[in-house]
Symmetry: C2
Subunit: 727 residues, 2 copies
């Protein structure tokens, strides 16, 4: 027991080291030269716009958080529907998730001009700065995540909460805070960035025939601000939520699965945290492996990035065996194989993503080729490819679910209480394994937008074609390595959502227990009938012929489509406003297209900001309200139907949208590289239409779906008390 | 008992009357004048092309049917995995479904020139011919459907099959024949028509700036052939399958629900057939109500059509009370209210479809307006609108499921054996109610493509602007009234699929019983444990925490996307071939665009035919193979997960695709009516891109999904014996 508790201290230590290293990389980056006065000026414009937007967004989100916290407080203190820690845990989750986005974005906005400046000299110089700045984001996310987890674990233990089940389910509510923050960040940021991007592309590229990020385009600054608030801050909050969600849900599963044995229970609660802590060290190791030699070729750089992420992933697989053995986890070999299953699934999904979205492969090449017959066939092909691309990830995740489940429970398929709990723990820990090296995988992901912004800065500062070419190459480099990271993120989201289903069941039991303790005769009887998962399923009739379950599945599938439809519509509306504004400026400001008049960048920034803030509220609230309504109307059976339906349809829809969007983007790049007539040709215009349609697919609706799925689970968990009141 | 048996004779009588009236309308139509020699010639071209294609398609489908029938024969006679009637029932289902499509198409190809000719004189003359020809299709479908049902019921009774459960589950296998035929017809026809349509639009409308159906366009004939093989023959086979599926699954549910009481059992088996028979009389009554006065206005015609369908629907609601009362069905009031619930749901879904796809309402107007900022925003808006439009139908069908379930079982929510069986019977009979007046609703639906083809004939025969305007008006008229029919078709598909879930459970029980009877000790034990639905669910652990179920749901959702992706891709490929061919002809045939050279229509017809035949096989086989694989690998729990996941995601995806496609179509029509610059403007080109993308959405992938869902259920049912062998 003593040993285990001392191992736990690895967790806060690793988190502080991560934060320390993030700070170190940050200051290292700040020491670099920001370039010419023009470069500084543009960087400052972008930084100011981004920070101003984020402040506005946080203000609105703060209102939502205060309202929800009050609701939780009333539920906890007024009606004993929740335990007293919930409102506070919820608030810290939101706060830390927001901070992760904020720090990541701050770094990115300082790094872009510096990256562009370094790229004036060499490719590898640009890579070094951009990658290290991406690492700041990666390390901040994992550092803050583990810190929040460690703090709450310490606080709840110190406060004398005895039951590990109560501790872990309470901690899950800070996951809800993180999810809520993440959804707002993804949706708001996603609308912001795509309104600007779509608007800038339509008028600039298609109508006025000027290049991307051209300073004559009034929407350029807004577009670059958008990359930061959407792709950086949004992604930071998103992955913070995924990271914490996987660890917390696995800990909660461990607490239930091994409730019969206190020592094993505490071990299994700590195990995911320790794996994550070791993952931080391995990420750091991987980050330092990414070395860039003076004058390195693209291929060498790509290898260097790949080596860093792959070695970290391979090492965590090996380390899991050691950690689980040393902790003395029951069936440690099997559970370790669950981790390996998860990692392999992430790699396969990543490879499949790359196959379907990179123009090195047939599917995207065919989309590009379809431009010969116009924009319509580009769209038709892209939609078709995106839908077909769902097969490999779904089959992979299905096999991973079955294998990680079976490995962890010793290949027992029969759904008994013990087999289920152990198997579910395996599914959870597979997700933890996938995300444990987030420190480095996020670095390869976050440096993409930094390189992209560096390109924007170079273009606007008129640094010349060769600098732009280098930043484009950096961006393309990132897309390739980021595929694996995205595979891990998507795969872990599905596994975590599954683990959260089990947490929901546990939370319902806790809620029933609270009411039973408070003296309800009925609840005492219910409690006796729902002691383990199979009897729980039986009591609440959560089987597939119960019409409540079926209706829940229907509503879950619909929720995913409805949510995507609303966010697509929001981008459409906002982009139209932007197009009208840019057209107005081209018409009214004299000499703007000759580079003599100054565009009114600020108006465009304002339009994006206003649209994003107005449009993000409704879809985000929907994600919170739907599970509450389903819970009250259809009860526990309906909610589980909702969550499973939402998970399956949402996961598939998210992959379709992300991959279709990615493929359109690269189909356009392929034409821009000189195929099918190259830039300015009819084929180029057709692929630009595809890319523009793909923008909200891949950067607004698609990625938001992953959060939607988990937020609906989190809301169900936190609102379990309300559902039970209607049982 | 005697009474009941005599009531049954209503069924074959009604079916023969329907077929007789279809023949009468057919000969009435044939008596009309086919117009000028040019009109006759074009009509003959289209007719020949359509018949030639259909023959080709039937050849391929025949091979599939023979192979499957042999498989079933081996399973039935070699391994006792099925009863001996299955291969024959399967074949007749396919045959009759094919016949329904064939007769419908034959009529349509004779009617189009006659409609155009009548439209030369007046609008109402055109309507009369087109609508009565549509009625031929409607009556043929319901007549053949009820005939097949009545024949098998008589044969199986005469052959001394005693158990009504065996009789009804055997009859379900002819549903599988119908589904298989329908899927090939929808997919093949859908690819054919959209390849031609998309190809013709891209080169004709967008590139060469010539109007739709212009005789200078080499793809016009293929386009008009496509309307017949896709929209007419495909729709006929599709609705034949829906119609029979709803009646057969409800009969099967009745046989199980009231197994404890032989009299009640036979009553509940016959009830859906009798409702359908009475529906035929009411449809005929409605068809005769559609009277057209000489020189009637559009509004009067629309009212006339609406009166016919609405009165039929209202009367069947009233008639259901009478039928169920006279038959003496247990809780006849409740079951009748289930029918009313179904009908109301159909009306609401129809209204919602109209709201989201007609340019009389905001959503489509906004899509049209988005053309001011180009094709990309048209697509983004359309996708957004289509996704949002899933909400009302899903909520409506969810409420209908719960209400028709509760009405039929006396508002018992607890999932006991009896409550479930009775409730499910209510869900089934709600679907039967929705489709019982298919005779007239299909008439309003099928006359659309006839009017469309009449327009094509008018254009190619150069009959002048006013004739084309009248046929366009007829087409638009049909779209409005058809919305209700489509609501009924979509809604009933969801309810029928649910009813089929219960049939699957029954079939598994039958298969276990067969093996138990053959002496398997294990199966005897199993059989004892799965006597009613709740204990069945318990034994096979079909609850939402069983990973097999969850994986099944995932695969089901993915199957819907994969299938749509493949059909979208097929249309894309085929359309590209068509575009290349039309461009080649424009380039190589001299004077073609001046109307001097003759286009090579035949080559285009060949391209569509070849593409459709090549591309339809893989997706169709997929629908058959997926449930078999899932059954073998994941067993009963996995299959039920697959079917529920496929149903929920497929239903939602189908609505999204159909509505987005419909909205794009009408957004384009709105511009063509003179808004936002009218024909030939940039806005027009942008909406044509939307319409082109929407073509495969609404006419290939979307409608095929409804069949996919049911075919997967049918395959699972027929293959139950195979799944059980692995239990």
């Amino acid at each position: 027991m003593e040993n285990i508790i001392s191992v736990f201290w690895l967790v806060p230590v690793a988190s502080l080291i991560a934060l320390g290293m993030a700070l170190y990389f940050y200051f290292q980056m700040k020491k670099e030269d920001e370039g010419t006065p023009r470069m500084r000026e543009i960087a400052q414009h972008v930084r100011k716009g981004a920070m101003a937007y984020l402040k506005q967004q946080y203000k609105i989100v703060a209102v939502v958080f205060i309202v929800l916290a009050v609701v939780f407080a009333v539920m906890a203190y007024g009606f004993q529907m929740q335990n007293p820690w919930v409102p506070f845990a919820f608030l810290t989750g939101g706060l830390f998730s927001g901070l992760a986005g904020f720090f990541g974005m701050k770094t990115a906005t300082y790094a872009s001009a510096r990256t562009a400046n370094a790229a004036r000299k060499s490719l590898d110089g640009g890579l070094r700065i951009a990658f290290r700045s991406g690492a700041v984001m990666g390390l901040t996310v994992v550092g803050l995540g583990l810190l929040d987890i460690a703090l709450w674990y310490i606080i709840l233990n110190a406060a004398g909460v005895n039951s590990l089940i109560t501790i872990t389910t309470t901690m899950l509510t800070f996951g809800m805070g993180a999810s809520t923050q993440a959804l707002f960040a993804r949706v708001g940021g996603g609308i912001y960035t795509k309104a600007a991007d779509v608007g800038a592309d339509i008028v600039g590229k298609v109508e006025a025939d000027i290049p991307e990020d051209d300073p004559r385009n009034p929407a350029t600054i807004a577009d670059n601000v958008g990359d930061n608030v959407g792709d950086v801050a949004g992604m930071g909050a998103d992955l913070y939520e995924s990271y914490c969600g996987s660890i917390l849900s696995t800990a909660a599963l461990g607490a239930t699965a091994f409730a019969f044995n206190p020592v094993m229970q505490i071990k299994s609660v700590i195990a995911p945290m320790v794996i994550a802590a070791v993952g931080i060290f391995l990420s750091l190791f991987g980050i330092f492996l990414v070395r860039t030699k003076e004058g390195a070729t693209m291929k060498q750089l790509l290898r260097s990035l790949g080596v860093g992420t792959n070695i970290s992933a391979a090492l965590i697989a090996v380390a899991s065996f050691a950690i689980l053995y040393l902790l003395g986890i029951d069936n440690w070999v099997g559970v370790s194989f669950s981790v390996v299953t998860g990692l392999l699934a992430g790699v396969i999904i990543g490879q499949a993503t790359e196959y379907y979205t990179s123009h090195s492969y047939k599917p995207t090449q065919k989309i590009s080729e379809a431009s010969k017959t116009g924009a319509a066939t580009v769209i038709i092909k892209g939609v078709g490819t995106g839908m077909i691309s769902t097969m490999v990830p779904v089959v992979t995740i299905s096999v991973a679910i079955l294998l990680s489940y079976l490995c962890a429970n010793g290949f027992q398929f029969e759904v008994t209480a013990e087999n289920l709990s152990r198997g579910l723990y395996g599914i959870g820990i597979a997700a933890v394994g996938m995300l444990s090296t987030l420190g480095i995988t996020l670095a390869t992901d976050a440096y993409g937008p930094i390189a992209d912004n560096a390109g924007g800065n170079a273009e606007m500062s008129e640094l010349g074609e060769d600098v732009r070419k280098r930043t484009d190459a950096l961006d393309a480099l990132g897309n390739t390595t980021a595929a694996t990271g995205k595979g891990f993120a998507i795969g872990s989201a599905a596994l975590t959502a599954l683990a959260l289903l089990a947490s929901y069941i546990e939370e319902i039991k806790e809620a029933v227990a609270r009411l039973a303790e408070a003296g309800s005769q009925h609840m005492q009887e219910v409690l006796a009938k729902i002691q383990d998962i199979p009897s729980f399923m039986d009591y609440f009739q959560v089987n597939l012929m119960n019409p409540k379950v079926i209706v829940g599945v229907f509503v879950g599938a619909m929720a995913a489509f409805l949510f995507s439809g609303i966010t697509m519509g929001a981008v459409g509306r906002a982009a139209e406003d932007m197009v009208q504004e840019v057209r107005r400026q081209f018409r009214e400001i004299k000499g703007i297209l000759e580079g003599k008049g100054t565009p009114d960048y600020k108006r465009c920034v304002e339009i994006s900001t206003r649209s994003a803030q107005r449009e993000m509220i409704f879809p985000s609230l929907l994600a919170i309200i739907i599970p509450i309504i389903v819970g009250v109307v259809l009860g526990v059976a309906g909610v589980l139907g909702l969550l499973v339906g939402g998970l399956a349809a949402g996961f598939t829809l998210a992959i379709f949208m992300s991959n279709a969007g990615g493929a359109w983007d690269n189909a356009k790049k392929m034409v821009e590289e000189g195929h099918f007539g190259g830039k300015g040709s009819e084929c180029h215009k057709a692929t630009v239409v595809g890319d523009t349609v793909g923008d909200p697919f891949k950067d607004t609706s698609g990625p938001s779906l992953n959060i939607l799925i988990k937020l609906m689970s989190m809301v169900s968990i936190v609102m379990a008390g309300l559902t039970v009141a209607f049982v």
